[in-house]
Amino acid sequence: MSHSELDARRLLCPLPVIRAEQRIAGLAPGDTLDILCTDPGARYDIPAWCRMHGHEIVATAQDENGELRVTVRVGAAS
């Protein structure tokens, strides 16, 4: 199982979702990916996209500057 990070800061939605979909396409089930975002819409859009594609949100954290870190575990049914 691998763990990697995607820097989607400064990108406005839907670009964080697009970049996440592109990155996850190259990952294996069970791998985890941290997605860093600054667009507040990513808080809703990334989980929504993960739900429909069978990926799991493992954790979501936001720092004092509003920067969001969403940890996704890649599902089998991508």
């Binding site: 400064r10 406005l12 939605c13 839907p14 697009i18 979909e21 819409g41 809703y44 859009d45 929504a48």
Partner: protein
């Protein structure tokens, strides 16, 4: 949503595609501004797909789309909207995706007569032809008014259960949405593309005129969405944040532009796009002061920072409102 729902009702597996051109209105202005707004800043396509229980693929077409905007074969609409070329392009991209991913046909929510350029009886076949989709393109909302398509002929789709809507009136769609329990959906009549917006396209025209040719990068077209744009001199313009969200967004570009901000008062972040010399910087500083909380003060201190990060301060008198020419506003 309705077109997909009609097919889901027939037990057909549907996955949705949403193409991101860079000119999409949805999400961006909300994401940049009104951070404390009361509505969640969701992506409408994602939200709709979730309501329908289908997968959505959001596809980056920013680079490929440039040729559609710059050289539309069928021309522009009222502004810089190349609607017919755009439709053909997107259906063509959908066809490519269909072929790669082993799907059989394409569905759109088009209705005859709903849009003046891209959804007329004579232009719907243009979309089917130029996209290369031909009779694999099904429009379930108006299918009964169109020739049979491959999925209908093959019996994959029951034509009798499709609709025969036409015209600009959205009442039948709204009634159908109610029947399906869709109470919250995106605005139906346009407004989803900045290329139909007169203010935005005026800025884009200005960008092309100053560059001497029609080209753009993603950052260019994103910045056109943000702030006030004033061109006080032909060789530079100012991008002035209108509120904190825009200032935050513009601050992401500080290393790429000379920028100004009032030091003695609260005020916007201002980017200089172009080349500004000594007198130009004074004018930019006076405009920065004008849009700050010190607008009525005798002097305002403005910090100017160039692309290397070197800063200096200018004490200036805010430019009086009557000296800001209306034609400076883009």
């Amino acid at each position: 949503m309705l077109a997909v729902r009609l097919l889901l009702d027939q037990g057909i597996h549907v996955e949705a595609l949403n193409f991101f051109t860079g000119f999409c209105v949805e999400g961006h202005t909300h994401a940049i501004r009104k951070r404390a707004g009361d509505r969640p800043k969701r992506n409408n396509a994602l939200w709709a797909a979730e309501q329908l229980g289908i997968k959505l693929h959001i596809i980056d077409v920013i680079d490929d789309y440039k040729d559609v905007v710059i050289n539309p074969k069928h021309g522009y609409g009222a502004h810089l909207n190349p609607c017919l070329d755009c439709k053909g392009f997107m259906v063509g991209k959908a066809r490519e995706w269909m072929e790669i991913n082993g799907f059989d046909f394409i569905v759109t929510g088009e209705v005859i007569g709903q849009r003046p350029m891209s959804q007329r009886r004579d232009t719907l076949p243009v979309v089917a032809r130029e996209s290369g989709a031909f009779d694999r393109l099904l429009r379930p909302l108006c299918a009964k008014l169109l020739p049979e398509t491959l999925p209908e002929r093959e019996g994959w789709v029951d034509r009798e259960k499709l609709l025969g809507l036409n015209g600009r009136n959205r009442k039948p769609q709204i009634a159908l949405a109610e029947r399906y329990g869709f109470s919250d959906y995106a605005q139906p009549a346009g407004g989803c593309c900045f290329l139909t917006d007169p203010n935005y396209t005026s800025r884009l025209s200005d960008l092309w005129a100053r560059r001497g040719d029609k080209r753009y990068e993603l950052d260019d077209i994103m910045l056109l969405k943000v702030g006030r744009h004033l061109r006080p001199r032909p060789h530079f313009k100012l991008i002035i944040g209108r509120e904190q969200g825009e200032n935050n967004f513009l601050s992401g570009y500080r290393r790429e532009f000379t920028h100004l901000i009032a030091a003695s008062h609260e005020g916007p972040l201002v980017l200089i796009d172009g080349t500004a010399g000594g007198d130009d910087l004074i004018l930019a500083a006076r405009l920065t002061a004008r849009f700050s909380q010190g607008r009525d003060c005798a002097r305002v201190t403005v910090t100017v920072t160039d692309k290397t990060g070197a800063s200096r301060q200018l004490d200036v008198t805010p430019l009086p409102n009557d000296q800001i020419r209306p034609d400076w506003y883009l």
